[in-house]
Structures are given as C-alpha cells and as structure tokens.
Amino acid sequence: MTVRVTLELPSVLADVAGGRRTLAVEMDRPEPTVADLFDLVAGVHPQLVRRLRTESGQLRRHVNVYTDGADVRGADGTATVLGPNAVVLVLPSVAGG
C-alpha cells in the first residue's frame, strides 16, 4: 500500500530541500510514521533532516512538527503514524533572542 504524504517546510529550510518548500513523498509501507518519513527524505535531503532531528533520532527541541494540524509531541512523537494523504508541517518554534 502506498501512502502519499506532503511535507511542508518553512522558507528558511528550502535551501537544504532542493529549493522547495513542499515535498511530495510516497511511502510503500503500512502505517508509516514521522520517523519513517524523515528516514526516506534523508536519503535525498540529508542536510534537511539533520536540521530537524539529532543523530539519535530525537526531534530538535525548537522544531515543531504537526500532522494534519496536530503537534506530534502531543501524540507519539516521531512514532506518530501518518494516514493517507497526511500533511506534515514543520515549523520553527519561537525561541532565542
């Protein structure tokens, strides 16, 4: 079963995503997760995924990820399952000075 997912990025990350803010991804596995999505995207855009999560797979502290409008930290984190036609939105949190 192929699950189609749309990954939406902030403009500041477009330069490490081939100049694009929206990536259409097809995932050929049942119940794919956010981590699976990042693994797949890392094969094409490793710098992008490096900015989103640490080498041990943790979502960076000031990176927020929403699936269909819901913060994944309120669900299962990067283990959150993506449904068909899911929209995964990455937003930098308000942080710093």
Binding site: R50, R51, V63
Partner: protein, 362 residues
C-alpha cells in the same frame, strides 16, 4: 606586513576582520547568522588556508562549516560532519573547540564537544570520528557539567610527538594520552577542586583553559576554576602560578609565539563575582613562564568595564611583533600589535563574542 585575518565567533554568527597593518581593519559578516559560533580554526597548514567553523543554531542544531576561499563560500557535510555513532546514544550539543593537529599531520584536526567527547578528522576538518577510547573512559560517568555545559573545550596535540595529546574538560579536568589514544590518564596533580569535599581528587577539576608554550612543549599554563597553575613536565604535576595577579579566577588564556613570547590572562574577581577586578579591563602578562605576572592593559578601559572574556576569546597571531586580541561578551574586540603592551578597540557592537582566532595569511 602581509594580511592578518581575525575570525570572531559570536552568539549570532561569524565575523571576519582583515588588516594589512593591524591598525585599520575591514569587517564582514555575519556568516552563518543565528548560529552561535563557539569554535573556529584558521588552518594555515593548508594551501589555500581553510576556515573551520563550529556553530550551533538554536533551531537546527550544531554544524561544521569549512571554507577554502576565505569565507566567500562554505561547505557542509550533508549528513553532518560530527555525529556520535548510534551505539553511543548521545547527540552533539555544541562544538567547543576546533584544533588543527601538528604541522607534520596537515589533514589532522581535533574537536572537543558537549557532552564531553573528543572527535578527530583526517580530512582537514570536513568530517570527524569519535575518539571512542575517551568516550569509553571509566571516569566519564563522574564528569559533570559546569555552568557552560559538560564540555571538552581544550585539545592540545603535542607539536613533535603526535601520539601525545592533552585534553581538558569542565568538569573532569585534564587527561593525557601518550599512545595515540589507546589509554587516557588524568593529569591534574597539584590542581585542586574547590567545590568538592576531596579537593585533591585525581580527576573532576573544573579546568577552564590550558595553553602550551610554543618553545618548550612540556611547559603548560592552566586557568582553573579558582587558580592559575603551571607545569614544567608536560602536565604530570602542576604548581600554583599567581604572583602578581589581582585575582585567580578567569577563562581566557593565550601565549604569543616565539622565544620572546609571553602568556596572557584576563583575571576575573571570583567564582561568585565574575567581573573584571574593580571594573577595569585588566590583561596580565608573564614573560617567564608564569612565575610572575604584570599588568599589560595600556589603552584598555580603566573603569566601567563589566563584561568578560570567555575561554577562547583571548588569542594571538604569529606576526612579529605578535598581535594579541580579546573579545568580550559585550561585542567588542580589542587588539594589540606590539606584543600585548598597548591596546586599541578594533570593532564594537557585535553580538556576544564567544571565540577569537587570528592568523597571518600567506
């Protein structure tokens, strides 16, 4: 004089200064804006000279950037230049030190990071691998974070014996390998630990910086958390070296190169009062290997100076006479072009200065 480059790492990016006379400077930047740049190396062993920058963006994490064209363009390893192996179960939080190896190993670059770990590059700083032996050290569970984090902030490769490397961390203290990293031994004898019940423990010191003499590699100077120490035996033993200092706390420490060079310190009042003594920007110089220190602050502010110089924000160039430079957390860079005798402000209104490096370019 040929061109001198100053690389100033700040809380919001890297600034580069250029001068042919060290009186007038042209500045550009920020490069990597919004990344806190706590570590920079100007690797003059290579042609062209390579800039190696360790930054941490609050959102996007740490990264190493290199430039072989003096900052016009930058390269970054797509998957990250410096990452822990999966089995370590750790993440690089910040890069605290980038240190080129000895001249005989032009591709070797060392890096110290938070959490306390040592990385080594064999390709001139483009990619690094964890030094597993130090990561596996049985003392590691006892190393604790200081106020700045649990960092390995100093790497001192031996200039003529490449198998000998000294590192220093806060907290943890000084460790030395004599066999290219097969074994690491604490090397803190004589350096007390004022914040632990056992002040003479073998390790656990909060060492702030260590600098090696350029003429005698066995002579070392150490700024401890409350004390300055010198060693004449490669760090095997340390003796107090505070004569002439107005205070013994501090971070910045450097040594101008050559037989007429000197060590320089920027003392702060105390652990619990981290300000320059009496609100005065006081640089202290030792021309006798740390046996005595004297004030060397002509031109620096005499009063109202309530900012500090961080551990890698006091540095030198290799010109003759040597230049000495210091950066402050209030975004100023001061320089001396006469071996540290007199000082001028080179730039102000930068973000907090975290580190400064200088080099005479070929």
């Amino acid at each position: 004089m040929t061109q001198v480059m100053l690389a100033v790492g700040t809380k919001k990016g890297l600034f580069l200064g250029w001068s042919t006379d060290r009186d007038t400077w042209e500045w550009e930047g920020p490069h990597h804006s919004m990344a806190a740049v706590a570590a920079v190396a100007i690797d003059t062993r290579r042609s062209p000279v390579r800039l190696i920058v360790g930054g941490r963006n609050e959102h996007w994490g740490p990264a190493v950037f290199t430039s072989d064209d003096r900052g016009r363009t930058w390269a970054e390893e797509p998957g990250g230049s410096m990452v822990f192996p999966a089995e370590a179960g750790a993440d690089v939080e910040q890069i605290w030190q980038l240190q080129p190896g000895p001249a005989t190993r032009p591709d070797e670059v060392w890096a110290g990071v938070e959490p306390s770990a040592l990385f080594r590059s064999e390709d001139g700083g483009r990619s690094f691998a964890l030094v597993q032996s130090l990561w596996d050290h049985p003392h590691r569970p006892d190393w604790r974070p200081g106020a700045g984090g649990q960092c390995l902030h100093t790497v001192l490769p031996h200039p003529t014996s490449p198998s000998r490397v000294m590192v220093a961390m806060s907290t943890g203290g000084v460790y030395v390998t004599e066999d290219a990293g097969a074994n690491w031994n604490p090397s803190n004898r004589g350096v007390p630990i004022p914040f632990l019940p056992d002040q003479e423990a073998e390790y656990g010191q909060c060492v702030h910086k260590v600098v090696r003499d350029t003429e005698d590699p066995e002579l070392l100077m150490l700024q401890n958390h409350g004390g300055v120490y010198r060693s004449e035996d490669g760090g095997a033993t340390w003796q107090e070296a505070v004569e002439g200092l107005p205070a013994v706390f501090g971070f910045g420490l450097t040594r101008t190169p050559g037989p007429d060079g000197a060590f320089f310190l920027f003392p702060l009042s105390a652990d619990m009062s981290r300000f320059p003594v009496d609100g005065r920007a006081g640089v202290y110089r030792s021309v006798d290997g740390g046996r005595a220190w004297s004030d060397s602050s002509t031109g620096l502010p005499d009063s109202g100076f309530h900012t500090i110089v961080l551990r890698d924000a006091l540095t030198t160039d290799a010109a003759d006479p040597a230049g000495v430079y210091l950066g402050t957390r209030s975004g100023e860079v001061w320089g001396s072009s006469d071996g540290g005798t007199s000082w001028n402000q080179l730039v102000s209104h930068l973000p907090d200065v975290l580190c400064v490096r200088a080099a005479v370019l070929p």
